[in-house]
């Protein structure tokens, strides 16, 4: 809050106590469900999802903003949840891999990753599927170059990527038909 001060013009008067700025109350909608929690300001979004919401489908890979295993959607856009604080997601809608399935049916992206063998160990797969989700929501018929660019922030150390490209093409094809 800004308060007018005769000698200094406006000065900033905190409305919160020191304890309240160290631990902050937040509300985040995750996969359509509201979660209200008090979190340490330094808590990363990925830790909030895994530890505070018990949604362990989002993985921590490198923890340095490189590998993309922690990718989730924030208001529909892919972000690395290891490189955001949970407090920054306050009031937003997060989609994790757990939110892709609807009414017991796999999302077409999930189905295609299975059908096209687009995974081996599966550690990077949740992140890859959410990056794919942003791609296909913006571009229903991506070419190979566009697919490569869309998942360039997701590292897979098993597949060599070829089956991932095939899975994404298959998902796009199936979603166009649906």
């Amino acid at each position: 809050m800004l308060v007018e001060n005769a000698s200094k013009g406006f000065i900033f008067m905190p409305e919160t106590t020191a304890a309240e700025t160290l631990a902050v109350q937040i509300s985040v909608k995750v996969n359509g469900k509201p979660y209200s929690r008090q979190v340490e300001a330094r808590m990363l979004l990925v830790e909030f999802l895994r530890d505070a919401c018990d949604l362990t489908g989002t993985h921590v890979g490198c923890d340095t903003s490189y590998c993309g295993a922690c990718t989730v959607l924030m208001n529909g856009l892919a972000v690395k949840s290891c490189t955001m604080f949970a407090v920054q997601a306050d009031g937003s809608e997060i989609t994790t891999v757990e939110g892709l399935e609807k009414d017991g049916k796999l999302h077409p992206i999930q189905k295609a990753f299975g059908d096209a063998y687009g995974l081996q160990c599966g550690y990077c797969t949740p992140g890859l599927m959410l990056s794919t989700h942003q791609l296909l929501s913006e571009n229903s018929e991506p070419n190979e170059n566009e697919i490569r660019k869309a998942i360039a922030g997701n590292t897979c150390r098993c597949t060599g990527y070829m089956n991932i490209f095939k899975a994404i093409e298959l998902a796009a094809r199936n979603m166009r038909r649906a």
Partner: protein, 301 residues
């Protein structure tokens, strides 16, 4: 990896953010997109006591056009710039935005944050310095505006006071007959480039009227390769791979580069990269100055 504990302050207006920073002093840092800051906090290379979060301030993310310039709100994300039709009218800006790191980073990182951080390997400063770019700032003493070339003074160093923020980046629309390109070489998508080149040329027919050439990641700040620019001005450019004028400009750029050897390569290797990137950027800029559409020029291997 947890950063050290900090106090979190969510600013609701730019004025409030400035007042917060003034009050909290040097123990505070500004959180914009966080794509550089948060990794540094996690590694505990930076340990601020307070973070002032700009992400909840309304009306700081926008792309607007007037008769002479494009205006970018400081909190405009790289991804928003990449997807904007307005930005495509100045291709060097689209090249830059579309090539920064990866999709996830572009969805968070901001143009204002990139300039305020002034990382020598950052993309925006290098691309924008080839255009007529003004940085608008707000601090305790009020608003001020500076040309980009006077804004960044050294590696990770700007003229910003500790309680001053970037609010807007203004880019003059280049004249008709002007074309530009930004080409960076990265070893993989999420990493910083090993070297980058930005070029903006104005042609009259095939004759180069004006040229701006800047080199990134090969000095403490983006380097304007003025000798390389001189090598092009007033010359006829045919734009093909054997163009001797382009080759001589690229050689002048090699001499202007001042790279440090690091994990991305030796100084010699980076100079070679500069030559190749400058040639490529000039060739694309020529085609664009002639009105040709050239897309997807950003490289990573």
């Amino acid at each position: 990896m947890y950063p050290r504990s900090f106090h979190y302050h969510r600013a609701r207006s730019l004025d409030e953010a400035v007042a917060m920073l003034g009050q909290l002093g040097s123990s505070a840092k500004v959180l914009a997109g966080g794509q550089s800051l948060i990794p540094l906090l996690k590694l505990r290379f930076a340990n601020p006591e307070h973070l002032v979060d700009l992400n909840f301030i309304p009306d700081t993310s926008f792309i607007e056009e007037d008769s002479t310039a494009l205006h970018f709100g400081a909190m405009t994300r790289h991804g928003e710039i990449e997807r904007s039709a307005l930005t495509k009218t100045i291709p060097v800006l689209h090249d830059c935005a579309a090539g920064i790191a990866d999709v996830q980073v572009r969805n968070r990182g901001t143009i204002g944050g990139s300039l305020a951080e002034a990382d020598p390997s950052g993309d925006w400063a290098n691309a924008l310095v080839t255009l007529d770019t003004t940085v608008h700032c707000l601090g305790h003493g009020g608003a001020r505006s500076l040309p980009l070339k006077d804004f960044i003074t050294d590696a990770y160093t700007t003229v910003l006071a500790p309680d001053e923020l970037v609010t807007e980046v203004e880019v003059k629309i280049p004249h008709k007959g002007s074309g530009g390109a930004y080409v960076a070489f990265k070893r993989s998508a999420p990493v910083y480039p090993s070297a980058s080149a930005a070029v903006q040329l104005t042609l009259a027919g095939d004759v180069c009227q004006d040229a701006a050439i800047a080199l990134g990641c090969v000095g403490l700040t983006a380097i304007r390769a003025t000798e390389a620019e001189t090598a092009l001005r007033g010359k006829t450019l045919n734009g093909d791979g054997n163009d001797k004028t382009i080759a001589s400009a690229a050689e002048a750029a090699r001499a202007a580069a001042d790279p440090q050897p690091d994990m991305r390569g030796s100084a010699e290797y980076k100079r070679e990269l500069v030559v190749a990137l400058v040639k490529r950027a000039i060739q694309i800029a020529i085609r664009r100055a002639r009105g040709e559409r050239v897309e997807g020029v950003h490289l990573y291997a």
